[in-house]
């Protein structure tokens, strides 16, 4: 039979040559890593914290993008898992745990458990029904948190002694920034790797034609559940980091508008595009931050942008950016 090489292979199949595109992540990573060192020189200390927050939200967005873009699961409850992660940290603090690693690890586990349970129920529904049932569970979590007296309920919960990073403490004022950066990079790398793995391909197949996948012998439900649980766990990590970032947690983390915003960010950036999550988050949060500086009417420009994106970059900003990538 004919060998792989001589066949008319479609673009994209087989290993890509190392292009400028494949270097991009490293460049971005380097710049971000250097930022805290250069920022003070320009009096941009504040933006270290700002970028740190961006990175954390990017983790959440990337996890959502995974089930949304690759899995075709339009979930409107993702902030719920962010919240579970954050409140796990709160619970750990309340229980006297001081180690960030322990708290974050626990956050991952607990939110994974929640995601598994919620997914097990939700994933039987499709399309809008799925969207709404995920929303329902997130809302339950929200109201639960609101009425949870021990953890401050609606008032939220302040973390007065920041969690310890163990050996890393005191190495540098911005050590937490680098930890976040490392984790964000890890999540990004992992998700873009999974996207081209067997699992990723199976997931995309399910997105495109679920019945056919089942008829070809794929354990559709299990694959979706695993993806959903993983995404939930990562979102939980983001929540835990957010708790450490703000040293404050409140139910508003879980409000449905937060879930919607996550969806919006991913969609702006580009569903199923590896840069989709990061781009969307960067655009959205930066806009919100900047606009507020200049006007109290800072919602409508964002609204306008949303509409424009839908019409002129229907597959997300990442696609525009992709074209550039190709021409390089």
């Amino acid at each position: 039979m004919s060998s792989v090489a001589t066949l008319p292979l479609p673009a994209g199949a087989g290993a890509r040559p190392r292009s400028a595109a494949s270097l991009l992540p490293w460049v971005v990573l380097a710049v971000l890593a250097a930022f805290p060192l250069i920022a003070p020189a320009f009096g941009l200390e504040y933006y270290i914290g700002f970028v740190r927050r961006l990175l954390i939200v990017m983790i959440a967005a990337t996890s959502l993008n995974f089930i949304l873009g690759y899995g075709g699961m339009v979930a409107l409850g993702h902030a719920g898992f962010v919240g579970v992660g954050a409140y796990t940290v709160v619970a750990m603090v309340e229980a006297g745990v001081g180690s960030a690693w322990a708290a974050w690890g626990m956050a991952i586990v607990i939110s994974a458990v929640f995601a598994a349970a919620i997914g097990a129920v939700s994933l039987r529904a499709r399309g809008v029904y799925f969207l709404m049932i995920t929303l329902a569970f997130a809302q339950m979590l929200y109201y639960l948190a609101v009425s949870l007296r021990t953890y401050g309920g609606d008032d939220g919960y302040g973390i007065y002694t920041p969690l310890s990073l163990g050996g890393l403490d005191g190495l540098h004022a911005d050590i937490f920034y680098w930890v976040v950066l490392a984790l964000a990079a890890l999540v990004f790398a992992f998700s873009s790797r999974v996207a081209v793995s067997r699992f990723g391909h199976a997931l995309m197949g399910i997105r495109d034609n679920e019945t056919r996948m089942a008829a070809m012998g794929y354990p559709v439900y299990r694959i979706k559940l695993v993806a959903f649980t993983g995404a939930g766990a990562v979102a939980g990590l983001a929540g835990a980091l957010l708790a450490s970032h703000n040293n404050f947690v409140s139910p508003s983390l879980m409000h449905w508008t937060e879930s919607a915003t996550l969806l919006v960010m991913v969609a702006i950036g580009g569903m199923g595009k590896r840069w989709g999550g990061p781009l969307g988050v960067a655009i959205w949060l930066t806009l919100a931050e900047v606009l507020k500086l200049y006007t109290e009417y800072w919602h409508w420009p964002i609204g306008l942008m949303l509409i424009l994106v839908v019409f002129f970059a229907p597959k997300g900003v990442a696609t525009l950016f992709e074209r550039k990538e190709k021409t390089q």
Binding site: V74, V121, R124, A125, R126, G127, V128, Y129, L131, M132, I133, L135, A136, F137, Q139, M140, Y143, L144, S147, R149, W256, T257, A260, L263, V264, A267, I268, M271, Y297, H299, W300, I302, G303, L304, M305, L306, I307, V309, V310, F311, P314
Partner: protein, 306 residues
């Protein structure tokens, strides 16, 4: 807890249910039947409420105010449809959610710029303030009776329109397979514009009618969006009958949860726990109901498209 009280609470449940249906009606049409996720429905609802409130205050005629609100909102909707929504019919739900979410953000800022950030006055029509005696022991807000009536009328009208008129068939056809509908000679664009306007009219009606018993303020639209969607989804997207049943169900469950759950829990649980648990559960009753229904029937109570 005497019979009258229970009866009254059931009545309240139905009342709230019909109120919910009223809120969901326009959305049932545009989202359920036309399969277009229009979050801006909330904004149209808000527009209806504001316009009606302002006109009522200045003119003193409530009926006139409602009519003006409906007409004005239809015009606004027409503009939105022409600028945004028209381009969204052929797109997936997510795109629709995004763009119409954008519309919401714009609308909220606009309303704030025009009428300010504070809630505005929406007086109850003079004739309908205060209660009427349903039974000797049971006064019931006159205005609510009107709401119930309108809710029922809308439900019936919508059901007939969707399931027993040609327009209804054409809308459904266009929604499920636009190009085939056009091959059959349907002016899908025109049909959709009409239905969208109708949806807007219902949104305005709901807004105008809710004003007198609720806060007319920015964000009021978003607040009703979720309950409305819940109702539609529980009922089964695309089924008017489903939305109606679901609305009543949610209304009853929610009211019952608020009225009967706390006392019951107090009876069985330690007071402090009951005090915490009761309201918490009552608060999420609607969502629990939806989750339960969708778990058992993943396509809602009355799946329209089997």
């Amino acid at each position: 807890m005497d019979a009258i009280f229970i009866f009254e609470q059931l009545l309240n449940g139905l009342g709230y249910g019909l109120m919910l249906f009223l809120l969901a009606a326009g959305l049932t049409l545009v989202f359920g039947i036309m399969d277009t996720m229009n979050l801006a429905h909330g904004s149209l609802y808000m527009a209806g409420a504001y316009i009606a409130a302002k006109v009522h205050e200045s003119s003193g005629s409530f009926l006139g105010a409602v009519l003006v609100a409906i007409v004005a909102t239809i015009l606004i909707a027409a503009l939105i449809e022409w600028l945004v929504v028209r381009r969204l019919y052929s797109r997936d739900h997510l795109a629709q959610v995004l763009a119409t979410f954008g519309v919401i953000l714009i609308a909220d800022d606009l309303v704030k710029a025009i009428w300010g950030p504070s809630p505005i006055m929406a007086p109850t029509p003079a004739a309908l303030t205060g209660p009427v005696q349903l039974l000797a022991e049971l006064p019931y807000p006159a205005y609510r009776l009107v709401l119930l009536g309108v809710g029922l009328a809308v439900a019936l009208g919508l059901y007939l329109l969707v399931n027993h008129t040609r327009m209804g068939m054409l809308v459904r056809a266009g929604a499920s397979n636009r190009s085939m509908a056009e091959f059959m000679g349907v002016r899908v664009g025109r049909v959709f514009s009409f239905v969208f306007a109708l949806g807007a009219a219902l949104a305005a009606l709901a807004g105008a009618l809710m004003g007198p018993i609720g806060a007319v303020q920015i964000g009021m639209g978003e607040a009703i969006l979720i309950p409305a969607l819940v109702v539609i989804v529980i009922g089964g997207i695309g089924s008017v009958r489903g939305a109606f049943v679901a609305a009543l169900l949610v209304g009853l469950v929610d009211t019952a949860g608020r009225a009967f759950l706390p006392p019951m829990l107090r009876a069985v649980l330690p007071p402090s726990l009951a005090a915490d648990l009761g309201p918490a559960l009552a608060g999420i009753a609607m969502y629990v109901l939806m989750a339960a229904v969708l778990t058992l029937k993943p396509a809602g109570l009355f799946p329209a498209r089997a």
